[in-house]
Amino acid sequence: MDQSNFIPLFVIIPLAAAFLISLLGKFIKWFSDAAICVSSALLLWFSVYAEIALKSSAQGVLIYKVGGWVPPFGICMVLDGLTTLMLIIVNLVSFFVALYSLKYMEQYTDKTKFFTLFSLMVCGMNGVIITGDLFNLYVFLEIASIASYALVAFGTEAEELEASFKYAIMGSIAASFIFIGIAFLYGFTSTLNMADMARVLSLKSQTWVIPMVTVLFLMGFGFKAALVPFHAWLPDAHPSAPAPISAMLSGVLIKTLGVYALIRIFFNILGVTAAYLSILMLLGAVSMIVGVILALSQWDFKRLLAYHSISQIGYVVLGIGLGTPLGILGGLFHLFNHSIFKSLLFLNSGAVDYAAGTRDLKEMGGLAKVMPWTAKTSLIASMSISGVPPFNGFFSKLIIILACIQKGAIAYALCAVIGSILTLASFMKVQRYAFSGELKEKLKGIKEVPWVMRFSMVGLALVCVLGGVMLLPHLRFILDDAVGVLLQGRNYAAVVLDAALK
């Protein structure tokens, strides 16, 4: 029990930060800045510490029983390989984004409300990741979603409000599908703990409950992850938000609420079969191609990035949908990489917006001369997302393509290669129009962004460059543990319940 005592802190720290910021931020000028820095740094430290604690634990999984109630009677928190990977991703990105928004958000009024909502969103995502209870997952998913609806409309311009309304409606419908799915599962298994549910589901025979629930969850979490038939809200919502929030939404929110919840439920509770995996692969491949094709014709910097998010989520889902160890490894590694370079790209677009005041690629040009830091980091991120060696995106895409070939899915491998080439083309366009070439007359007077914003961009760029080291034998356990959690399938139940009863 002692070993796992730190687990609730992933929720307590951002919650306390949010409440304190909203209480004291109005009276003390520097308080909200200080609180957000401290809380996100603490969260980052604890997510690294979680990895260490997990490594030193005997069973490879840590359980925290909230209120001392033994699962399935109370809610428990589960810390396993996949959880720690996701925690590191979320808290790493949110740390840099929080630093970035210290300066960026001065364009907007009422920074305390922004940081309160930001903190609540981080709290919701951390809660979704560490929970071991299905209804609790729904509750925290709603916290993160509601905070993100409000943050998308934070600028209160007409387009932002419209995008936020659309996003909120779509998100609420998705949540209602998830709720109905949970209701079906509760009616069938009469328990809400994910491990216990998996145990009951493997004991009771059924033919239609799991397919029905699968479809409901696929619609619900597919909306949240913006897989292609359900992607309509993303290209509006993500560009409309302030740049740091776009980075959070595209970088981690769609992955936590969508992909993580989807794969956790599919692999560990419902149990995967070849049919579900092929649905995932198909959705992934379609998202990959459709997203990138839609991105090609965009001239708005942030909209272009938003369409690429759809495409890159397709890679992640395709990789995981392969179901082989190599495929899942590639998918999860790409999930990590994409959250880094996509947040970096959105921060770059925010920096350009901050300095030059435009998001239209046609109005930019030659910015490399006046904004060298932004230009260089965005070059690194563009190379990463297009899969140019030796940046991190190259390795994960390579693994996914190899896994496709290994499984004999040559068509999917071809799709992945084509998607990658089109991505490269699209980002060549960005580099060509935004950063290289002649500096336009109108843009002569602009300056590089302040140093905090530069610091977060450089930090993320460093992670991009060094991302490949995660594949080295000493660090690979982070990914391998996560892959192991998904591959164990419904054994998750036995592992978690055993550890809980100790």
Binding site: D110, G187, V200
Partner: protein, 177 residues
């Protein structure tokens, strides 16, 4: 039996709420659905929910009426209504058919399995000291959910304040100047 009648009444009012042209009537019709739901909760032996639903419904109605009053009432012109109706009915049919298949495998109505809930009923009062077992569940066994619930309300209040504040930006973009 009374539940069936209530549900049919709810469906009817819901259709009225969706289809009526006047916004105020629509809001009032949805209020009728909410109060019928409150009665249904009472019949289903959920007094906590009935109270909560009642008061929440009143608050929602006040806010909705005040938000919609004196606002414009656009004519609802539905294009492609044949296609829309057909596709909607097809979706509803498929959804209900598969839901029926799945529901027939669930425990029959009125006879839930209650694997976890049995323990709450047996030991709830002695372990938590609360006589109202719903309170025992929400504030002790699953208090962490309730923390999330309180946070959701907090989030939506802060979000609402953030959306209603004006002006939204303190610095105009450079090219607008």
């Amino acid at each position: 039996m009374e539940l069936h009648i209530l549900l049919i009444f709810m469906i009817f009012s819901a259709i009225v709420a969706i289809e009526v042209k006047d916004l105020l009537s629509s809001v009032i019709a949805v209020g009728a659905v909410g109060f019928a739901l409150c009665l249904a909760f009472l019949i289903l032996k959920a007094p906590d929910l009935a109270i909560t639903q009642l008061v929440v419904e009143i608050l929602c109605l006040i806010i909705l009426i005040r938000a919609t009053i004196n606002k414009d009432l656009p004519l609802v012109i539905e294009g492609r209504w044949v296609f829309n109706t057909v596709s909607t009915i097809a979706f509803v049919g498929v959804f209900l058919f598969f839901a029926w298949l799945a529901l027939s495998e669930l425990p029959r109505f009125g006879e839930p399995t209650m694997a976890v809930a049995k323990k709450y009923l047996e030991e709830g009062t002695s372990k938590t000291g609360a006589v109202n077992l719903v309170t025992a569940v929400i504030l002790d066994f699953r208090a962490y959910d309730t923390l999330g619930e309180a946070t959701i309300l907090f989030t939506s209040v802060i979000g609402l304040m953030a959306i209603l504040r004006r002006p939204g930006r303190s610095r105009r973009k450079k090219n607008d100047q």
